[in-house]
């Protein structure tokens, strides 16, 4: 009998030595005359346990982690190949690990379970059911389902997806585009990466459905160049989807047409902003365009274009398969459905946590995250990427909900949660916000381009104790000028982390 063993192949598992572990497992099994099949699955997103090795048994998959190559002999002696659970690295049945069991995985229901590139696996776990449905109904009916789901864009701005799609559908027929924003530039986020590395056909299916809904026959995925593993896997997935007739001019024999290509970005944070992204796809510098016109009306090459984040598009197959109402059943207020939260930074149990909107930040960081990695007290948390405020303890009881965060000037953004312990120098963090903006501004408007450079200088002076009071006032004015006078959120929101430090951690800005 062949024993099936799973060793993940996503970036994080690889970064922790998964390839070496897989090689050692193969050797160890051979030496013991045990017949094994090593499957390179996606990651479950339980990153503190990576590499997480799973062994298939009659009662389910048994997990071991974090496994290093040097642990393999010891694990084999303790009965890993038989699914014995006595070794200290044994985590019991994977499905029973509380971190996983307590999640509500709608979008991430398959990750870590399947071989990312296996179409058979994808189909066996509900893949292409949404596409099948979409092919059987009208574009407007597809759109109505998305409307009923209440889905709002997961890339940051939380704009209702159905309204965007409707605008594109209502434009006269002709060349239209679906563009997937996979630039995922926010520190502390990796949900897009996980989709592309661990369940790539889901994104292909979601984009195809979007194309059917608005009448677009060409899609592009704009993927950041910092993700070489995602690029490799996703490119292969596209090839296989073409070979199997899920892409091209006759999708699953329906006569419908959708082409898809993945394009690599080139290391510019601003190209995550949708209009800069379109400029970049057109082969230009990533300069932000003034809106209007909206991309939905004049987007890529001047044509009507849907620009959506990976997670927005990846939610669509579920919505079509199970119905918009099933998705809208989850969540609170106007934040419907689930959000894949990402626990990162100084956290004991970092990883992907997909939950309905509404859980408090504190529950997330404590119950799931288990506190800090260092074991020291938690001091501050940055939610929503580099343009998000640093939140002090008094704000940790806020529920994860777009409106609840907006109420105090916070952002949920793409769902990244970056934790810092009490050794953090918050003044340094404020300085970095300005430094990052200075490095990444597209340069179109003065408050952003010049303001950020001045911001770094002023913070340096404050921290050096030069005229602190006057310079602090200058910094506050500078922040206001940037918020009011910038064309896009790069310059317009960079002050948020800075202002939050001034307000909540003032002692860190003393020289």
């Amino acid at each position: 009998m062949t024993t099936r063993i799973y060793v993940p192949c996503d970036t994080t598992a690889l970064s922790m030595g998964a390839d070496d572990v897989a090689a050692r497992l193969t050797q160890e099994a051979a030496a013991r005359n045990i017949d094994v099949q090593i499957v390179r699955n996606g990651s479950r997103g339980l990153f503190w346990l990576e590499p997480l090795v799973e062994v298939e048994t009659s009662t389910g998959r048994v997990a071991y982690g974090p496994v290093e190559a040097a642990d393999v002999t010891d694990l084999a002696d303790a009965g890993l190949f038989e699914g014995e659970q006595s070794h200290p690295l044994s985590q019991g049945l994977t499905d029973e690990i509380p971190y996983l069991k307590k999640q509500q995985r709608l979008t991430f229901s398959r990750i870590g379970i399947t071989d990312p590139l296996s179409l058979d696996d994808y189909r066996a776990h509900g893949g292409f059911a949404g596409l099948k449905k979409a092919l059987s109904i009208s574009p407007q009916a597809i759109l109505d389902e998305v409307k009923a789901s209440g889905l709002r864009g997961r890339g940051g701005a939380a704009f209702p997806t159905a309204i965007k799609w409707q605008t594109v559908l209502d434009e006269p027929e002709g060349q239209k585009y679906i563009v997937c924003n996979a630039d995922e530039g926010d520190s502390g986020t990796f949900a897009d990466r996980l989709v592309m590395e661990c369940d790539p056909y889901m994104l292909i299916e979601g984009m195809t459905i979007a194309g059917l809904a608005v009448g677009a026959s060409q899609g592009y995925v704009y993927l950041r160049s910092e993700y070489p593993v995602a690029f490799r896997i996703f490119k292969t997935a596209i090839e296989r989807a073409y070979d199997a007739g899920y892409l091209g001019d006759n999708i699953t024999g329906s006569g419908r047409h959708f082409d898809l290509e993945v394009r690599l970005a080139a290391g510019a944070y601003i190209c995550g902003e949708e209009t800069a992204l379109l400029e970049s796809l057109e082969g230009k510098r990533g300069m932000v365009r003034a809106k209007p016109p909206l991309p939905a009306i004049k987007g890529l090459f001047g044509r009507p274009t849907v620009v959506n984040n990976v997670i927005s598009l990846a939610a669509v197959p579920f919505i079509l398969d199970k119905g918009g109402a099933a998705y809208a059943d989850y969540g609170m207020g106007r934040s419907r459905g689930t959000l894949p939260l990402q626990l990162a930074g100084n956290v004991r149990r970092g990883g992907l946590v997909e939950l309905a909107f509404g859980i408090s930040l504190r529950e997330l960081m404590e119950d799931f995250g288990g506190g800090t990695f260092s074991g020291r007290p938690l001091k501050a948390v940055q939610v929503g990427g580099p343009l998000g405020a640093y939140l002090p303890e008094s704000q940790w009881d806020t529920p994860i909900d777009y409106e609840a965060f907006a109420a105090f000037g916070g952002v949920v953004g793409h769902g990244g949660v970056v934790m810092f312990d009490d050794t953090v120098d918050m003044g340094e963090q404020a300085r970095f916000a300005m430094e990052f903006c200075a490095a990444e501004s597209c340069g179109k408007c003065t408050p952003c381009r010049i303001g950020a450079v001045r911001g770094v200088e002023v913070i340096d002076r404050i921290r050096a104790g030069e005229n602190s009071e006057a310079n602090l006032e200058l910094l506050s004015e500078l922040c206001e000028t940037m918020v009011d006078g910038s064309l896009c959120a790069m310059g317009g929101m960079t002050p948020f982390p800075v202002q939050s430090v001034i307000r909540h951690f003032p002692e860190s800005l003393k020289g």
Binding site: F47, G267, A268, E282, G351
Partner: protein
């Protein structure tokens, strides 16, 4: 905004172990293979850099003529993006993540250690021509920081010791010189 200090290089002879030496004809080949794609410029620049390790100045007129753009336009695009290099690198490119989630786990300390260990700053190449150092803002490995990228491999939980061992392995591995 882009700082203009792209990779400075000691002598410009040895390029990345995987890179081939360029010729105008080879560059033209890469350009021709992609020129008909809509928005072809970024794919072309990637193809050239992937194959030759960087984008030689001589590529600019070739690309400009083929795509019927001005040289200034092509140059402007190359200089806008951090990823594109206009000078050869050492045998390996090491990128240190400088973003917040890695900062929370000591990336600043690691960065200082790396610069001292290699005796170079960002956008420079070590004297033995082995390693070019670059900053990067997030590798999507934010739950297992600090993270670095070595060529196309990402490494997590990188301590000063782990970094030194990695460098040891990189520099003692047999160097494949381009023939």
């Amino acid at each position: 905004m882009h700082m203009s200090d792209k990779t400075t290089h000691a002598n410009g002879v040895v390029s990345r172990s995987s890179a081939e030496p360029w010729t105008p004809a080879l560059i033209q080949q890469e350009v021709d293979a992609l020129k008909d794609k809509p928005g072809a410029l970024l794919p072309i620049l990637h193809a050239i850099q992937d194959r030759f390790g960087y984008i030689p100045d001589a590529a600019i007129p070739i690309i400009a003529e083929t795509l019927r753009q001005t040289r200034a336009d092509v140059h402007g695009v190359i200089s806008f993006y951090h990823h594109f290099r206009t000078h050869p690198t050492g045998s390996h490119v090491v990128q240190i993540c400088r973003a917040e989630a890695c900062q929370a786990l000591g990336a600043r300390h690691l960065e200082a250690h790396v610069k001292e260990r290699l005796a170079i700053d960002y956008h420079q190449t070590s004297r033995d021509n082995e390693i070019t150092l670059e900053p990067v803002y997030c590798l999507g490995n934010c739950a297992c920081g600090p993270s670095i990228r070595v060529d196309d491999d990402i490494h997590g939980r990188v301590t000063a010791d782990k970094f030194d061992r990695l460098v040891e392995r990189l520099t003692t591995a047999p160097l494949e010189l381009p023939s």
